[in-house]
Symmetry: C2
Subunit: 125 residues, 2 copies
C-alpha cells in the first residue's frame, strides 16, 4: 500500500519537520512498518535495501527524538536480537499514515487538477 | 511563508509523483514563486542559492513535463532575458500551495498529536 509503484496514480511523499532536529518522512515510517512486520531491525533494513548500520542509526535517532522510544530492541544477544514497536512507535506510525491518508482524500480535487495538466498518461478520460 | 525557519512550528514538505517522470515538490514550487517575484530564472536561482544551470534545468524539466510550459522565458537576448509564469505555471503553483494548506489544516489534529510526543519544545503545554 505504501509502496505502490505499479500505476500512474499520483503518489505522495510527505515530510514533517519539528524544529531543527526531528523529521518524520516516508523512509522512517516504512522502516517502522517493516520492523513491526519482521520483528527485526536488520530484516526491516534488508527489505528496504538499507544497510544494517543505516537502519540502526535511523532507529536510534527516532528513539532519541521522542519522549519515549519508538522501537524496543535487544541488539544481538542469545536470541539474535528481536525488535518491536512500542506503543509510542505504533502511535507515531499511525499518525503519519493518517496524515498521508487525509492529504490524499482532502486534496483529491487539487491533485486531480494537477494530473489533468500532464500529458496523456494512458488511462485518462 | 513557505520558508519559515524561525519557530518550532511543524513544517511540511510534500512531494507528489505522477508516474515515474513528473515530480512536484517544495523546491520546484519555491522556484516558480521566485521566478514570479523576480521575473528572472537566474535571480530566482540566486535567491535559492541554486546555480544558474540547476535553475534552468529544473525549469526545462517542468516545461517538458506538463501539457503546456510553466515558465515563459527569453534566454539571454538584448533585454538580458526575462521570465514569467504562464497561466499553467500559475495554476500548478496555486494547486501545490493549496494541497499544502489543506494538509496543514485538515491534518492539524494528527500533527499536533505527533508534536505532543516530542520532548518539550519550549512553548508547548
Amino acid at each position: 500500500m505504501s509502496d505502490n509503484t505499479s500505476s500512474s496514480e499520483p503518489r505522495l511523499r510527505l515530510r514533517i519537520f519539528f524544529g531543527d532536529d526531528v523529521m518524520l518522512g516516508p523512509g522512517k515510517a516504512d522502516l517502522l512498518e517493516h520492523i513491526r512486520e519482521t520483528g527485526s531491525i536488520a530484516a526491516a533494513g534488508r527489505e528496504m535495501a538499507m544497510s544494517y548500520k543505516r537502519a540502526w542509526s535511523l532507529v536510534e535517532g527516532m528513539n532519541r527524538g521522542y519522549r519515549e522510544p519508538l522501537v524496543d530492541s535487544s541488539r544481538g544477544g542469545t536470541k539474535g536480537g528481536g525488535a518491536s514497536l512500542t506503543a509510542a512507535g505504533e502511535a507515531v506510525l499511525a499518525h503519519y499514515r493518517k496524515i498521508e491518508a487525509i492529504t490524499v482524500r482532502e486534496a483529491a480535487d487539487e491533485i486531480a487538477a494537477l494530473r489533468a495538466m500532464l500529458p496523456d498518461m494512458s488511462d485518462g478520460k
